[in-house]
Amino acid sequence: MQLSIEGVSKAFPGVQALDKVSFELRPGEIQALMGENGAGKSTLIKIITGLYRPDDGRVMIDGQEMSFQSPRDAIAAGIGAVHQERNLIPRFSVGENILLERLPTRNGLLDKDAIHNEARRYLDLLDRGIDTHTEVRSLSVAQMQIVEIAKALSLETKCLLMDEPTASITEHETEALFTLLKRLRDEGASIVFVSHKLEEVFAIADRVTVLRDGKNAALGEPMSTMTRQNLISLMVGREEHIVNKPQRSVDTGVVLEARGLQTSFGHRDISFSLKRGEILGLYGLVGAGRSELARAIVGAAPITGGEVLVNGKTADIRNVHQALNQFRIGYISEDRKNEGLILTHTIRENIAVTIWRRLAGALGLIRPSAELDAVMPYVERLEIRTPSVEQKVGNLSGGNQQKVSVAKWLAANVEILIIDEPTVGIDIKTKAYLHELIHEIAAGGTSVLLISSDMPEMVALADRILVMHDMRLVGEVANDRRYETVSNAIMNRIHAVEEERSTATAG
Amino acid sequence: MVLAREEFMKLLCDAIRGLAASSILAGLATFGVVGLAQASDNKIALIPGGPHPYFAPWEQAAADAKKDFGIAAVDFKVPQEWKLNLQTELVESLAAQGYTAFGIFPGDAVGINSTMTELKDSSIPSAALAGCAQDPTDAAFCLGTDVYNSAYLGTKELIKAMGGKGAIVHLAGLLVDPNTTLRVKAVETAVGETNGEVTLLQTVADTDAQEAADQKINALLAAQKDEIGGMIATGYIPSVVASKSLRTLGDKRIKFIGIDDDPIVLEAIKDGFVAGTMAQNPYGQGYIGAYVLDLLAGGGCTIKEDATWIETPQTKRFIDSGTLVINADNLTTYKDDLKKVTTDIQSSFKDKYLTCK
């Protein structure tokens, strides 16, 4: 299928999301679509899939101009997509989700066997471990992503749009996906691949189109002519990359200590200590239990054994309210849409939520001007790009949303900050900026517990790295900022535990 | 579209008013010698508690009163729903539109009083029709069924039909309605007077909605149809539903006294499934009410405080609009009986209860 976009524009209240953008996709190719958060990639994808109608410009398929009124039309025209948002029906089975809009029937009734057999076929291309009868809401995030991809594949369309399909899946699954995409390409399919991970783009794309501020920065350039550096500079307009922060040795008092913690998630014997002004990394694979541990510490989940000490005193933290106001501990959630932000509220309110208590004067009154004064420094310091702090957070790009969820905890001015996957789905520029910031606040005396599965990030920032695997801490690695040695040391710990276990079960 | 309709209706009203005026003039010219009641320019509203079949005869009564007594307007105005606030809003609105007297069924015997006080403050007379407002009240008088007496007489009638002994059940209306409390007392009193010969097995309340009544009455029959000797209903709906249930059950042993003359109840009396029903006189209430209100609103007459009012638990100024038992004997004639009662009350009302200049 030949898909051409010619001079498409799209405006939202206050933003020109796309400004005369073009894009051209040939049969039998994988083309990367790149750009920072807010550059207009998602808007373009939504236009191609019929969710938005362009204000101006043309969408053509095989030389014919299309005017999609709904996603239905786009699917009928042969365009399948994996969207960035989670698009599954929580209470439906995996099989039903995959075949949702064309469920097979027999005599007018759903043919359950056919559904599961059919869905199985597509799921098997990626992962044999997911049962098609399971309800989607009981799957892990990674499994849901696999289901989304299987769902797009099942349309067997000639054109496939993938918006960050690998954001939450494992390396192994990513490999399987890539093999599959390449096969589809060789069979003549046209594939658009959106990702922030440069490695992946270089590994799979044939050509690349780059958007910057809603305009074309590059149009269908062959990947072979691209280097990492010039791709980044096309996206951000200047050169930028992750810089390791200087190595520090933190030798101060302990502010947070865990002694033999147990939780209802299954954590056993978790002990560690965090010093003042330290960045303590907590590394682990998806499902190791890091976020759950963080939640237990801030009182959002019950602790069933052991104790937490804050500044040397036993702390019985029962909820986040207490963690914030009594113990001055904050937690920046990885799930910013559900836990981190109130999307229907404004930037001002989202940032100020943690400091309302402090701002409230007599009778609990909050002066809006005081609120604004308290919020503005963080909006400016974090360079949150918005026409107004009265903008609803739901209207911001992913990167700016993340900045808001960081800003509100900076505003809270806590002593201990747990930061969970701060840069997932964030563009390179914002990522570098957030790294700078985390380093800065630690230097300012705040203790940071940094949770991340991004190894380069861990190496760049952490002073020490705890390794977590299967609800246990399995080791501590000193960080000398040398990527190879540190990452090897970490992975060795994990492998060693895995081996121990398999010998144990074998024995 | 809507507005066009309003315009049209206004025109129509004006036209009717014009016609009425001219016909009255013509009437005066023709019957002037006979001395027909003086034509008045009063506008009287008859307002029920809400939409309910009981009040259907009021429409005819209003038209007849207007014609017979030469009143400028007697209008039957129905609140949209059976809710106190909608009724009072309607009254207020009509007062604002220049109505000069109100005949109101107090859907809520206590709640209507503040509105009646306000009407009185604006020198607009109001009367409680069909049911009474609870004293202290500013209603000029109450012309209606004495709910206590009706329930008491009904129970007596039932006891008679049962041969003076057995167990009875009382099907009552909305528990939050003050009238229900009175009826419950009346039934208890009548039962008490039998010195234990008759017992009150159970009181089932809140049977004013179709489905609730159906469910509760049938459940009751299912549970104790063998123990029950008789039933009395003091609400319109339970009366209808019980008549139907007894017919379905095909059991003529259980005696039943209902209330009001709904066709279903009358049919059941004819076929012997129901012993009788307490008739009320809605037409007479509306007709006489309009007549008296016209006299009061004209300023020519005032209420005679020392008249021979009947005193009821609800009010000191009560006039019985006629309560009689309909049974198989008077099934065909009860309407004439009521008409006669109506005429009697109307013709003697002025002398008995009013002081006129």
Binding site: P13, I342, A360 | N85, T88, S93, S114, L174, T181
Partner: protein
Amino acid sequence: MADVPVNFFHRQSHMTDETISTERSRRGFFAGASAQIGLFAIVALLWVIFSTLAPGFTSPINLFGIGRSLAVDIVIGFSQMVVLATGGMNLAVGSIGVCAVMLTGFLLQDAGMPIPVALAGGLLLGGALGWLNGFAIVKTGVNAFIITLASASLFLGAMLILSKAVPYNTLPPEVGQFGRMRIWGYVSPLLFIAIAIGAALYVLYRHTLLGRQILAAGANPRAAEMSGVPVGRVIIISHTLSGLLAATAGIMLVARLGAAMPSVGGEDWLLPSFLGPVLGGTLLAGGSVAVIGTMIGAALVTTIRSGLLVLQVGNFWLQLFLGLILLAAVMADRYRGVFLERRSLGRK
């Protein structure tokens, strides 16, 4: 459950955004308040139409009547609005209202308490019953719909058992006089009470810690909890407030009727309690309130009803026209919003 997006209620979000929790400062007052202005314009238009067609509409007695019933409807609307803000609902507003009414009546008539004490007693009971609702919802985790459905029955039942459904109709005359009092000949003091409560609520949601926390908890309870908002406490407080407001509405009715009766409130309040807030732009999904909108929403319904009464629409057909005009009004408001949105885009 928590992973299910709750977006169906949000469909109307453009037509509603009133005051609180929405953009305002930069886009100017008129852009922010445009939703209410639209609804307000419709109400104003209806007033012009009705008073032209029927002069009786603006007569003092009618204005007084409208104002007085509006006052009670507004407060009933508020009692629902404060729980809608948390994303819950309170089906027991009517039951709480009538309990407060009967207690006030008892204190005034049987116990012979002075009026302020009796009022305080009624309000206190309302608040306590609301607190009970909130406490049960937070502690059991069962949704507010079911808890308040059951408690509506419980409260009403307890009132019946204790009062035997006997009304109190010989209250001190001051009570009824207050309800009949007219200021400048056509304004009821009850309307001022409603407006004062509105002003207090406006300040609560816009300018206080508690108000902000309520809205945050309503918009996204998980995010609010994770940001240190004591969500459970906030929900309990909102229900207490709801009970307090329901009791206020009930006591206003006591003044208006000059009696305390078991038949006020109950299920009759249910629809009106939702009508004002929802017409005014409060989202059923929580996280937003429209204090002024609730007042205008209640005014819309009262205006249509009163206008139709004055126009003397045929006896039984009034309800039909009420429905049709209401439909026309909300649609006009909706299309005005869509039109403005298009225009503002076109200018860019």
